[in-house]
């Protein structure tokens, strides 16, 4: 039986509701039961009558309460179920074919699909129907099996990053066989060619039901550069209501950690299917971008990878002479700037200053000699992939560079002087360019006849010369030569970069040549002809959910396929590496349009969400119980049995509980305030906390025996709750999995550090990673300490106060004996005064001491005073433990006495003055 969305498993029980009015009358007549009391004074009561007789009927509200309780009980026992699932009733026999679109668009609600699929398979299993699953992305002949078999393989059916093509759908249609079956088609909601044919094939074999998520598909087209800004376009299948999406730009931060670099909102207008926005981010940042994605959309279509095309290359232009007085057009760099500015970022400055910025290209226009440092650094930069582009000129021609033997940063040896042709003082005609040889990067460029060369530097004939020439003049003299240096190369134009020696810089060919040399990168995609014969190796591939995975052992792909073929199992979307660049292959192309799937009217389309069956009986029975409880209390109150005193007592007891814990906290604060107490930060790892506690206990014992500091039992400090101001020293052991304190706790910690507290951070990993590299503890320490207000640090200097506050120490071992202990750095003007052994160092206590020697373990003592952890071996180990104790003593002394020992330096001077 159904009442709206509620069904009943035992509806006949509802008949009992008819008995409610009778119950009303019955209950109404029965007054609350009397209390029997022994009372000697009854003799005096005899003969007294009651004044009013109202209360012999149950009050109406109590009746209502009881009625509700009974009604809830009856309805609850009738077994009401919200959204009972009985849609499996109609076609409960015969084989079942489940068709999955399984594309990237289906990934957006794959969990819902998976749930529904699981429920369907479970249902089919109960009805012993054979099931086959057909994935249109990778069609295989339907293989009807027991549903349980498929259930176990459900997680392997995750959506692919590509989508079905007309070809695969035709393939699937051909595989269907002759058997009749029912079909359930999980659609991804996108229209596709070839679907109708498959649908009619399926319909000829049995009923077809389509399951489709109503969630809109939003995809992101590849980013393009427009006027220096990154232009992003999102498309959606269905226009409709306005919608705002957030685009996240992901990349690497300067330390190489992947993180989100920028976000940008994009708004779809009401009737638009595309939304475009521009994101202008600094070129430095842009160079580190790896991908854009739409926030909250978990599918490969919402991710677009960036490749080299997005990067504006950074080009450093350096001229041998700067003719500030001269004419602009004669400047050796003018034409280069004109050619490069639209597509690249130009860096100016001295060579040594520019090199750390790691530009992609450095152009040396007529620079002849380089200093030794410049040369070695340039060489190193070039070996790491830099392109050094040199232009000849009068200075180079006049110099001895690469004269007798080949200079490392020149592709060829040069003859002295160069040559001039076709000038006023020379014979011959100016020379023009010869066609580019096939192996040249310039091969295929259109030669314009108006390029003439009137002067050039000449290459010495060498055995290697022929292989290094990539462009030559009609008379066979090299015009452009190239040499590879490691991963980089050096290219020499044998003419000047201005129009002094040739007309080349004036021509369009110059720009094209620069492009071919990948000096500028205006082209997004290489054209087909260029890709022929190349093989591209996948580096990272996208899965259907838009997650980047290592490509592993996937085979390389032919260049032309990369351009022409649709993505599929053999051509996965991802990042491909070619001969000299990387290419991103995205799921959604610039011209991809999304359109919603349309289904014929005779195909029922359902949503993915089946409201879960919710039995309500338990709730109703619980409500009945609660009502009956209320009835008990009300009845008690009515008949005078409810004792307010007792109720108040219980309430008071409940209220008293939190006060107790507050008192406890106060006790802790009192204990900390009345004596010197060493404290350690509670990390949540009980073993570690115990060790830290034992360590501070051991240190406390040592202090007690050796110094006038007599600390009481150490206290574990909860950063969130406790007042830190009471503790002079906090020992903070670092574990990778301890929770990061909240912002309020950091405020307290910073206040603590500013007001003279000290935190001893201990990464307990012997500082193997030198803080911050790969050790998990070091990384955790970085994250823990990032919000802290910590001054610049330095490795502890030899004359630091910490080395002599009590013992004279130079090493600070704990359980390990790493040397790296960091403290607040000395002020820059700290100087050693003549005759004093130490510098006059900073005037306060270092707020943090960072090390990794696991001091607590070395200090740790059990209750009997015996060490808890072994340190080293034999006598040397005991010596190390002793030094650890001494470090602890020095540390506590430093915290408590500050720079007292530093001031001792002045004692002779003070005595001297007093003597006068």
């Amino acid at each position: 039986m159904m009442l709206g969305p509620i069904g009943f498993t035992a509806p006949w029980l509802l008949l009992a509701l008819a008995a409610l009015p009778i119950l009303w009358i019955l209950l109404r007549a029965v007054p609350p039961a009397p209390i029997r009391r022994r009372f000697p004074g009854v003799a005096l009561l005899l003969g007294l009558t009651d004044d009013d007789t109202v209360t012999d009927r149950t009050p109406w509200w109590l009746l209502l309460l009881r009625m509700l309780a009974v009604a809830a009980l009856i309805v609850g026992l009738a077994g009401p179920v919200l959204n009972p699932q009985d849609d499996g009733e109609q076609a409960a026999t015969g084989p079942l074919l489940i068709v999955l679109d399984g594309s990237w668009a289906a990934a957006r609600d794959w969990p819902a699909q998976e749930d529904l699929l699981d429920a369907m398979l479970a249902e089919a299993g109960r009805e012993t129907r054979p099931v086959a699953i057909l994935r249109l992305t990778e069609p295989q002949a339907p293989n009807f099996q027991a549903a349980e078999t498929w259930r176990s393989r459900l997680s392997g059916l995750a959506p692919a990053a590509w989508e079905a093509t007309p070809g695969t759908m035709a393939e699937a249609a051909a595989m269907l066989g002759d058997e009749d079956f029912e079909t359930r088609w999980f659609s991804d909601g996108l229209a596709r060619e070839g679907r109708d044919r498959l649908l009619s094939e399926l319909q000829s074999r049995g009923p077809v039901t389509v399951y489709e998520s109503p969630a809109p598909v939003i995809a992101l087209a590849p980013a393009t550069i427009n006027d220096g800004a990154v232009q992003l376009t999102a498309t959606r299948a269905l226009a409709g209501t306005p919608r705002e999406v957030t685009i996240e730009a992901h990349g690497r931060d300067p330390s190489g950690t992947p993180r989100m670099l920028a976000t940008m909102p994009l708004t779809f207008e009401a009737d638009a299917t595309t939304a475009t926005g521009e994101l202008s981010i600094p070129a430095e940042l842009r160079a580190r971008l790896t991908r854009f994605e739409i926030a909250g959309q978990r599918h490969a279509g919402a991710v677009t990878l960036t490749d080299d095309s997005l990067r504006r290359r950074e080009i450093a232009l350096i001229a041998g002479r700067e003719d500030r007085e001269g004419l602009e057009l004669l400047s050796p760099l003018h034409y280069l700037e004109q050619a490069l500015t639209p597509s690249a970022d130009i860096l100016d400055g001295a060579l040594i200053d520019i090199l750390p910025a790691n530009p992609d290209v450095i152009v040396l226009a007529d620079v002849a000699t380089l200093s030794g440092a410049e040369q070695s650094e340039l060489l190193e930069w070039s070996e790491n992939g830099g392109l050094l582009l040199r232009f000849a000129g009068p200075r180079l021609a006049a110099s001895d560079v690469s004269r007798d033997e080949e200079a490392p940063l020149m592709p060829v040896r040069l003859r002295a002087g160069g040559r001039t042709v076709g000038g006023a003082m020379s014979w011959g005609e100016p020379k023009s360019l010869a066609p580019f040889p096939e192996e040249s990067p310039f091969f295929g460029l259109d030669l314009s006849d108006d390029v003439t060369v009137s002067a050039q530097v000449m290459a010495q004939p060498d055995p290697t010369l022929a292989s290094r020439v990539i462009a030559q003049l009609t008379d066979g003299t090299p015009l452009v030569t190239r040499k590879r240096i490691g991963a980089g190369q050096v290219v020499l134009f044998h003419v000047t970069a201005n129009a002094e020696w040739s007309t080349l810089p004036l021509s369009g060919l110059f720009v094209q040549m620069l492009e071919r040399l990948a000096v500028s990168s205006a082209v997004a995609l290489p054209d087909l002809s260029e890709m022929q014969g190349t093989t591209w190796q996948p580096v990272e591939v996208l899965d259907g959910f838009g997650t980047l995975d290592d490509a592993g052992t996937l085979p390389g792909v032919d260049g032309e396929k990369l351009i022409t073929d649709p993505i599929g199992p053999d051509l996965r979307p991802g990042l491909y590496e070619g001969p000299d660049r990387r290419l991103a292959l995205n799921v959604v192309k610039e011209d991809t349009t999304l359109s919603p799937a349309t289904w014929p009217a005779n195909v029922p389309v359902r949503g993915l969400a089946r409201p879960p069956e919710a039995p309500l009986g338990g709730w109703l029975l619980a409500a009945a119980l609660v009502l009956l409880m209320a009835d008990i209390i009300a009845s008690l109150a009515l008949s005078g049995r409810l004792m307010p005193a007792r109720a108040a007592l219980i309430l008071a007891a409940l209220l008293a509980l939190p006060q107790q814990s507050e008192a406890q906290e106060q006790d802790k604060a009192l204990a900390a305030a009345s004596e010197v107490v060493l404290a350690h930060v509670l990390t949540g790892d009980s073993q570690l906390d115990e060790a830290a506690h034992a360590g501070l206990r051991g240190l406390g014992e040592t202090l007690y025996f050796r110094t006038s500091v007599e600390p009481s039992t150490p206290i574990g400090v909860n950063l969130e709750e406790d007042d830190l101001a009471l503790y002079p020293l906090l020992y903070w052991p670092v574990t990778p999995d301890q929770p990061i304190p909240t912002a309020e706790a950091y405020v307290k910690l910073n206040e603590y550090l500013r007001t003279g507290g000290m935190i001893l951070f201990d990464t307990r990993d012997a500082n193997v990673a030198g803080f911050g590299a790969s050790s998990p503890n070091g990384q955790k320490l970085q994250r823990l300490a990032r919000p802290l207000d910590i001054p610049p640090l330095e490795p502890i200097p030899e004359d630091h106060v910490l080395t002599r506050t009590f013992y004279l120490l130079q090493d600070f071992p704990g359980r390990f004996s790493g040397r790296g202990v960091w403290v607040e750095s000395a002020p820059a003007d700290a100087e050693k005064v003549e005759g004093m052994p130490f510098r006059n160092l900073n005037d306060n206590v270092t707020p943090v001491v960072i090390g990794g020697n696991d001091w607590a373990a070395a200090w740790a003592m059990d209750e009997t005073g015996a060490p808890m952890f072994p340190v080293g071996r034999g006598y040397a180990g005991e010596r190390q433990r002793e030094l650890a104790y001494r470090f602890g003593v020095n540390l506590v002394m430093h915290v408590l006495t500050g720079n007292y020992k530093s001031d001792q330096v002045h004692v002779p001077a003070l005595l001297d003055r007093l003597g006068q």
Partner: protein
């Protein structure tokens, strides 16, 4: 209370705090037996009182020869006239006394017995003779009598409400009635007037539970007597409170007027108060009654 020893011990404890109680002796020679109270005049007794010259009519054997030998006249040695008081105690043993409204209060019967025995011990220590009303335990002296008293006191009665016993009282003796006087007032009146007729004066102590004074009951209630013979049902107990309290006040006033008429003393004791204060009051009532 089935064990004698604890009651005796606690009563001794209570009695130990008071000086010996000197009951007034002002009564007739008929009831006089030799006791320890000198009557401040010559008479029968053990202690020397005075020598007086022999008068005519004195028998020769009364002459104290040792005294007479020291002078010419002859003297008779007189002894002080000593008497002992007889005190009769009645403690209500009925079921209505076995009631305590709260765990922290003693039952009324318990308190009544304690007070009765404490008074008895004090009186005994002062040389008085103490017994129970009725014919079971006539007044006597001595430790053994205390034992017998204690044993007799712990017996529970079967009735719902007790009636004071006026038989067995020696004329012109003293009496102590302890009860809640919740039962029929007529019985109390008969006993009291009967005692007064025989010249017996005494103390009437009404012991009540705090609940009986406050009537802190609400809601529909059936009140039952402790014995279960009487019952009264009410639908709203709180409504009855004022009328009950009026009746209780009336009962107290009646007892007081009865006492005033018969020369008795009336006292009211609540089980929530300390037994010591009640004993003090009893001590005072016996030591200096209104008839002094």
């Amino acid at each position: 209370m089935t064990n004698v020893a604890p009651l005796r011990a606690r009563a001794e404890h209570e009695a130990a705090r008071l000086p010996p109680l000197l009951a007034r002796a002002e009564h007739l020679a008929g009831t006089v037996l030799l006791g320890e109270h000198g009557r401040r005049r010559a008479g029968m007794g053990d202690d020397f009182w005075q020598y007086r010259p022999v008068q005519s009519g004195d028998e020769r054997r009364f002459i104290d020869w040792r005294r007479s030998a020291r002078s010419d006249a002859q003297f008779v040695r007189q002894r002080e006239w000593q008497i002992a008081q007889s005190v009769v105690i009645w403690v209500d043993a009925a079921a209505s006394m076995r009631f305590a409204s709260d765990e922290k209060y003693a039952e009324k019967s318990d308190r009544a017995r304690l007070l009765a025995l404490a008074v008895a011990i004090l009186l005994n220590r002062a040389g008085e003779r103490v017994g129970l009303a009725g014919t079971d335990l006539p007044p006597r002296r001595g430790e053994a009598q205390m034992m017998r008293l204690a044993e007799a006191l712990i017996k529970d009665g079967a009735d719902d409400y007790g009636h004071p016993e006026s038989t067995g009282m020696l004329p012109h003796g003293r009496a102590l009635f302890i009860s809640d006087f919740m039962g029929d007032i007529a019985a109390a009146r008969t006993a009291l007037t009967g005692a007064a007729d025989r010249g017996v004066q005494g103390v009437l102590l009404q012991v009540l539970d705090p609940a009986e004074e406050a009537f802190p009951y609400r809601g529909r209630t059936i009140f039952e007597s402790v014995g279960g013979t009487l019952a009264h049902e009410t639908l709203k107990a709180s409504e009855l409170r004022d009328r009950y309290l009026a009746r209780l006040a009336e009962r107290k006033a009646e007892l007081q007027s009865l006492c005033a008429a018969t020369g008795w003393q009336y006292g009211l004791h609540h089980t929530s108060d300390s037994a010591q204060s009640a004993l003090l009051w009893l001590f005072r009532a016996f030591d200096g009654g209104p008839s002094r």
